[in-house]
Symmetry: C2
Subunit: 121 residues, 2 copies
């Protein structure tokens, strides 16, 4: 039993470290020079609240740029949102919580880049 439980743990660990067809939605933002730190923090906070409001989001993470090679084209923020499938994203885009979030970031946005893909190894 202990051996099989340990084997199961390793199998799960191997499974989750592999890309399993999740649908990824990468969002990068560069804010206007006029954006205040408080406005930027409000966007970070509001994006982080979307996973609790839109149930097709299965995973969420983000991070400020820590560019090593300086090839980030001015983007300072990246949000990495996961859905089970493309339909999950298609539910998210017109969702009222997502629409309300736009009202927070659009006024201070300089530019955005969005890249969607199905994860594979």
């Amino acid at each position: 039993m202990i051996k099989s439980a340990i084997a199961a743990l390793f199998m799960l660990s191997a499974t989750v470290s592999q890309a399993g067809g999740e649908f990824r939605h990468i969002v990068m933002f560069k804010f206007k020079d006029s954006a205040t730190p408080a406005q930027v923090e409000a966007v970070e906070k509001a994006f982080g609240e979307l996973p609790s409001k839109i149930d097709t989001i299965t995973a969420y993470e983000w991070g400020r740029s820590e560019s090593v090679e300086g090839k980030n084209d001015g983007f300072t923020h990246c949000f990495f949102v996961t859905f089970k499938d493309k339909a999950g994203l298609e539910t998210y885009i017109p969702h009222p919580a997502h629409a309300a979030f736009k009202d927070i970031f659009i006024p201070i946005l300089d530019k955005a880049l969005v890249y969607d893909y199905t994860a594979k190894n």
Copy 2:
């Protein structure tokens, strides 16, 4: 024993679905119009071989663009590379296997964007 094993499985599952400070290295490519499908596939294959050649890579996935909103700025390929920490990326960049990989993609590259961040929720 069975209950504790099941509990351990759920705990591991919860742990891995949370961002735990991994260092993410996002690479987006747009290839020249003159790039052939075979050349593009060679880049996809060669990037996928780097995790077996550079041991600071802890996870790897990629996907061709499936843009829903058309905001991908022409990028057709995204490679999502994970390191334990920033030092892992700093080992990767000058690694001979990475340098050799450059010889494969540089000749057909139109543009690239690279974004590095420490994952958090």
